[in-house]
C-alpha cells in the first residue's frame, strides 16, 4: 500500500431495491429515497441514493481493498450529481498520502451524469 497505488474499480448497480433498502437501513425515510412518484414530482429523474448510504459505500470501497484489519478514522466527502435508481455508480480510488500506518485514500464515485461523490478516507493499517 504505497502512494500512487490504485484501488480496483468497483461498480455498484443502484437498483431501486438497493436505493430503498439502504435508505431504510440507514433510517432515512425521506420520500425521495423510496417513492418514485413523489421524487419525480419534486423534480428528480427518479429516486436516488441518500447521503448516509454514500458514506457507507465509500467506507466499504476502502475497507474491501484495505482488509478488515484496517481502522477507518475519517470519511470526508463532497457530494455532486445524484445517483439515481438504475444508475451504475463506479468507484475509483488512489492512495495519496502515507505516514507510517496512516493512509489517505482519494475516492471518486461517478455515474453517467458526472461525479456523484469525491472525497478522502483516512485509515490506519496494521504495522
Amino acid at each position: 500500500m504505497r502512494i500512487g497505488d490504485s484501488l480496483p474499480e468497483w461498480h455498484v448497480e443502484a437498483t431501486p431495491t438497493f436505493v430503498i433498502s439502504t435508505a431504510i437501513a440507514t433510517r432515512d425515510f425521506q420520500d425521495v429515497h423510496h417513492d418514485r412518484d413523489l421524487a419525480v414530482k419534486r423534480g428528480s429523474k427518479d429516486i436516488f441514493i441518500n447521503i448516509l448510504t454514500t458514506t457507507g459505500l465509500v467506507q466499504r470501497y476502502v475497507t474491501d481493498w484495505a482488509g478488515p484489519e484496517a481502522l477507518v478514522r475519517q470519511v470526508n466527502i463532497r457530494l455532486g450529481a445524484p445517483c439515481y435508481a438504475y444508475d451504475t455508480l463506479k468507484f475509483f480510488g488512489q492512495v495519496i498520502e502515507r505516514e507510517d500506518q496512516n493512509l489517505t485514500i482519494e475516492v471518486v464515485g461517478r455515474t453517467g451524469h458526472g461525479d456523484h461523490v469525491t472525497g478522502i478516507v483516512k485509515i490506519e493499517v496494521m504495522a
Binding site: A81, R110, G112, G114
Partner: protein, 380 residues
Amino acid sequence: MNAAIVGVGATDFSKNSGRSELQLAAEAVRAALADAGLEPSDVDGLVSFTMDTNAEIAVARELGIPELTFFSRVHYGGGAACATVQQAAMAVETGAAKVVVCYRAFNERSGHRFGQVQTAAAVNIDNSWSYPMGLGTPAAMVAMFARRYMHEYGATSEDFGRIAVIDRKHAATNPHAWFHNRPITLDDHQASRWIAEPLRLLDCCQETDGGVALVVTSAERARELPQKPAHINAATQGSGVDQFTMTSYYRDDLTRLPEMGVVARGLWEKSGIGPSDVDVAVLYDHFTPFVLVQLEELGFCGRGEAKDFVASGALELDGDLPLNPHGGQLGEAYLHGMNGIAEAVRQVRGTAVNQIADVEHVLVTAGTGVPTSGLVLGAS
C-alpha cells in the same frame, strides 16, 4: 494483411466524462497498450479520424511516446473507423511504423453534441444544398433515404425497430454498455417520439463521452505478445458514384449504399471468405434503417429482403449472423464505430461478454451514408 490487432482499450462510456477529450484519448491509448503488453515507447505510429480534437502529437505528449514515424488522419467521420486500422496495417506492412495505435475520444454528449444542427458545417459548399433548406441533422439526412426505402420495399417503422430491439437486448447483458440492463420492446420503439419521420428516437444512437484505442502491429510481433491476436484478414475503404457526405441523394437509386458495396467487394476478395463464412457481424448502427441496407449490400440477403431476414431471427446471438453482441452504438456507446472494432477483437479472442462460440471471422463496418470502410478480423 500481415498485421493484427493486439490490444484494445477504452474509458468508461458516459454522458458526462468529467475529463477533457485529451485525457479520454490518453486513458484509452494507455489501456490499449497495457492490454497489448506494450509500453508507450514501443509506439511509433498514431492514427485517428476527422472530427476528433485530439492531435496525434498531443496524444503522443501525454503518453510519453518519444518519436513517431507515421501519423495519419482519415476523413469522413464515422466512415473512417475501420480505415484507421487499414492505415495502421499498411504502415506496419510497409515498414513505415512498427506499432501503430488507432484512437477516437470525445465528449460528444457533454461537450459538442453530434445530434444537433451543425451550423458550422454549412460553410462547406456541398452542405449548401441541404442545410439552408432545413436538412441539418444526421437523423434527418438518413430519414430521407429511409422514406424512399420504405416506399420501394414496403418496409415499416417496425422493421427498423427490430434492429434497435436486438441491439438493446445485447446491450442489456453487457455491463460496459450505457443501456446495460435496459432492454426495450418493439412497443417501446413504436411509442418513442418522432425525431425526423420516419425515424423515431429509438432508431437513433445515443451520444457518448468516452474513448477507444486499438493497437496494431505485425503478425510476427503479435506472436510474442500476451493476447491472442485478431488478424486483419481484410481492410478496405469505399466511396461510390456521385458520393456526398450523408446526402448522396442524386444517384439513380436511393435505397442502396453503393460505397458499402465497394467495401463488401473488397473485403470478400481480399479475405477470400464470403457472407456465409461470417461468424459475427458488427455493423455500424448509428441509425437503424442503414443496418437493413448494409445487410443487402454485404450480400447477406437480396435487395429489399432485409426486413424478412431480420424478422427471421438471424441476428440473434444464437442466429446465423449474430449482430453487435456488445449492443452496438444504439446500446453500448457511440464511439463512431471504434467500440465495435474492439468488440470484434474480443469475439476473436473469445473474451466477449456475449461471446459467440468458435469465432473464426468477424465482419466490421464503419459509418454509413458517408464514404466508409470495413474489416474482416480473423482468428488466423
